[in-house]
């Protein structure tokens, strides 16, 4: 009951946030220099065509009027039409969501598989060489510019060694092998950064857990060290790590801009950069809104997870 109430409060707060967000994005992109109608009018740029396009997309209306029209349509689930390829923004986003989700999940799995064990290792044997190496890896992961790492990996593994496809995305249904190969490098690039963050948090949470009374009790009972570390300490240390992971995942959904650009993955990020460059207003607006929704949903999941995992809050 208390939980439902809390959930309701959180949901109610997202409404003004989203509204504020849509105003921000709308204002921001309409402040961008350049005239989308000119870009849309083709190489010949016939002035009549330009005027026609302006009128057709309502660019000749006052900006508040444009916003109002957009808001009304958006409330009915219509996010407008892409200026660039005449597709409905909702369809466009739905098409991309799958791809972006796949990349995000792949990166997250990689990050969890690397980050948490390394964090446990670093906490269990502080000062050891393994611990130092793990910390070094984590630090490198958060310090390397992702786009540069991407370029270097393409250079090494695709261009020179030819192990992985250098770009593009293949649907799973068509060729599972290619699909997997295509995700490896971008997932690695995105995953290392998150792995670094997760590793550092796992380590500090583990260190705290290992220093606490119940671990001392467990050790005093004569439990094997491995069991103490994995069973008792890790379970408690995971609480903050899991919530952090959910938030990182939320950011992945829209944060992979440059990585998608470099690997030519047709996800949210690439759509966004192209949208900004071509002043495809409806796409940018819809995209930002949807990724913000996803982000908010992910942080909500983080809160729920926190609530579910943390027994102190449940009672």
């Amino acid at each position: 009951m208390r939980f439902l109430l809390f959930l309701g409060q959180r949901l109610a707060l997202t409404v003004p946030t989203l509204l504020m967000l849509s105003v921000l994005v709308f204002a921001l992109q309409h402040l961008l220099p350049g005239d989308p109608a000119l870009a849309l009018a083709g190489e010949d740029m016939d002035p009549d065509v330009v005027a026609e396009i302006r009128h057709r997309y309502g660019f000749d209306l006052p900006i508040w009027h444009q916003y109002w029209n957009w808001l009304l349509a958006a409330l009915q689930g219509d996010l407008g039409m892409s200026l660039r390829n005449s597709m409905s923004v909702v369809q466009l986003l739905l098409g991309k969501l799958g791809i972006t989700l796949q990349l995000a999940v792949a990166s997250m799995v990689l990050a969890l598989v690397i980050g948490i064990p390394l964090g446990v290792l670093a906490a269990a044997r502080p000062g050891s060489f393994a611990s130092l190496a793990a910390s070094g890896f984590a630090l490198s992961g958060i310090s390397v510019p992702h786009f540069w790492l991407g370029i270097m990996l393409v250079l090494a593994f695709s261009v020179n060694l030819n192990w992985f496809p250098s770009s593009g995305y293949t649907p799973f249904a068509e060729d599972p092998g290619r699909w997997a190969m295509g995700l490896v490098l971008p997932a690695f690039v995105l995953g290392t950064g998150i792995a670094g963050v997760l590793m550092r948090h796992t380590r500090s949470a583990m260190l705290q857990a290992l220093g606490s009374d119940y671990i001392r009790t467990a050790r005093a009972k004569g439990l094997r060290e491995q069991r103490v570390v994995l069973k008792h300490a890790l379970r408690n240390a995971l609480v903050p790590v899991v919530t952090l992971g959910a938030i990182e995942f939320g950011q992945l959904l829209s944060g992979a801009v440059l990585t998608e650009q470099i690997f030519s993955i047709p996800g949210f990020g690439k759509l966004l950069v192209d949208g900004v460059l071509y002043r495809d207003y409806a796409v940018v607006q819809g995209l930002v809104l949807v990724s913000a929704l996803l982000f908010i949903a992910a942080s909500l999941v983080a809160d729920i997870l926190y609530f579910v995992i943390n027994p102190r809050l449940r009672s």
Binding site: D35, S158, L271, L277
Partner: protein, 498 residues
């Protein structure tokens, strides 16, 4: 990591690739796949596979028939009669006939947001003579120009039924009468087309399926080609070509491009015309300070062509009396002194695209040696379009993709009323020449007119043409029957994968 890679490679090897699938890496994600609304050059690639045109141009840029079997220009030049190919069907089974042609031309002229109106500017109306004969009525005697334009997107024929049913959403699933029918599109991902068995020229189609994959980076396209993911990679960067040496599986073919890169001066557009709008000696000095050949050599491995006119030096319309001038820094300095501008300073507007960014920096260095300070201002393409139209530039580094008919390279850009004339250069003498060029049906006459137009522009220097690109297409040696085309659109007829 390495073990994972090996494992994945193993399962990857197991999945055999579909026989007869051609994968083409293209440079940009195409916009709307509708002949009437398509804008970017990249859209022409898949559209050419899906939609046949009334005419086509040969690699020598001569007009040839495609869905038309014969044409006749009336003596007064104000109408053209077209005989249509019989037995042609659209992908949805609809019949291709004179009514369909009339529908299509009318659609280009009247559809909201149509980008074909300029190309069909001379067309007044159509007249269906019989199911396989149609007459085009012209406003002015510009028949040849019109027919050449019908060899482009304006001549692509879509199924009237499908177009009516889909309305604005036609671009999501184009239905035409080409050799391949549209299957699916993942925006920014790929466009897939499948062989159309009802195609009139079925015997010469040897591919089952073609996929167009937008990959923006030339190096990555090339890597895809070399790894066998792609069989064709369009528009390779000349700087990537050295990598192909010694590769036995792939090769590259080159063909001169129809377009040109030029630095356009603000002649009369708004307050910023004051630097270049007046004294011609200042523009000449800028031109003389640039070493086009050195630039082409340093930046493009000597693979592009230095140029100074709106067609390349190999074109018949090129005025050989005005060859590319050699660099002359002392003369440039002298001209500037005479014009009272020994310390000329101006800003060049450049798009963020790398090729022009690099060239702009080199031009900057070259001009500096002549005492000219050129600042660079970068804008993304959309902003740059708006700035140039509003005259917010001293000079702008522009690019034109080129058209088979020289009118496409000149009228819009240099005629007083040309929609692309952001310089606002206006010369009645040139206007007269360009109008005569439009109406010339005779090739010799056209050559004469456009050579004169070129000579005039070279003398007046409203812009400095710097180079003409060449299109490099990387192809797998498995591919047979490929001929590069100067309009850089890949024709699929006759292609075979071994």
């Amino acid at each position: 990591m390495r073990i994972l890679a090996l494992l994945l490679m193993l399962c990857c090897g197991g999945a055999a690739m579909a026989q007869g699938t051609l994968r083409i890496g293209i440079g940009d994600d195409p916009d709307a796949l509708d002949p009437t609304l398509n804008r970017a050059a990249s859209g022409r690639q898949p559209l050419t596979a899906v939609c046949d045109k009334l005419f086509d141009v040969t690699t020598e840029l001569k007009l040839e028939h495609q869905l038309v079997t014969a044409h006749e220009i009336a003596a007064d030049g104000l109408s053209v009669t077209l005989k249509l190919r019989e037995g042609v069907r659209f992908h949805d089974g609809e019949r291709f006939d004179a009514e369909a042609v009339a529908f299509n031309l009318n659609r280009h002229l009247t559809m909201q947001g149509s980008l074909r109106r300029t190309e069909l500017g001379a067309l007044a109306g159509t007249e269906v003579v019989d199911p396989h004969t149609i007459r085009l009525l012209l406003k002015s005697p510009q028949a040849y120009l019109l027919l050449i334009n019908l060899a482009e997107r304006a001549g692509m024929m879509v199924s009237p039924k499908a177009a009516r049913d889909a309305g604005e959403r036609f671009a999501l699933h184009p239905v035409c009468a080409g050799a391949f029918r549209f299957v699916e599109r993942v925006p920014q991902g790929r466009i897939v087309v499948q062989r159309f068995d009802g195609y009139w020229n079925r015997a010469n189609i040897h591919l089952d399926r073609v996929e167009y994959l937008p990959i923006s980076d030339s190096t990555v396209r090339l890597a895809g080609l070399r790894s066998g993911e792609l069989q064709i990679a369009e528009r390779l960067s000349p700087t990537d070509l050295p990598q192909l040496r010694g590769d036995t599986r792939v090769t590259s073919v080159a063909t001169p491009d129809l377009g040109f890169h030029s630095i356009r001066f603000n002649m009369a557009n708004g307050p910023r015309q004051r630097i270049f709008g007046g004294d011609i000696r200042i523009r000449q000095a800028v031109e003389l300070a640039i070493d086009r050949r050195a630039m082409v050599q340093a930046l493009f491995e000597d693979q592009y062509t230095a140029g100074n006119q709106f067609v390349g030096p190999e074109s018949a319309y090129y005025d050989k009396a005005h060859p590319v001038p050699a660099r002359n820094v002392p003369r440039a300095r002298a001209l500037l002194r005479e014009a009272g501008q020994p310390n000329l300073t101006f800003t060049l507007l450049v798009p963020s695209e790398r090729e022009r960014q690099e060239a702009a920096q080199m031009v900057q260095a070259m001009l500096a040696e002549a005492g000219i300070t050129m600042k660079l201002e970068t804008q993304d393409n959309t902003s740059l379009l708006a700035s140039s139209q509003r005259g917010q530039f001293d000079a702008v580094f522009s690019f034109w993709s080129g058209r088979p008919h020289p009118d496409g390279n000149s009228y819009s850009h240099f005629a007083c009323a040309g929609p692309l004339n952001d310089s606002r250069y206006c010369n009645p003498e040139l206007d007269a020449l360009l109008t005569r060029g439009r109406e010339a049906t005779d090739e010799a006459e056209r050559v004469r007119v456009y050579q004169q137009a070129n000579a005039l522009l070279v003398r007046n220097v409203p812009h400095v043409v710097v180079w003409h690109r060449r299109t490099f297409t990387g192809i797998s040696k498995r591919l047979a029957g490929f001929t590069p085309h100067p309009d850089s659109t890949i024709r699929l007829v006759g292609l075979r994968l071994n």
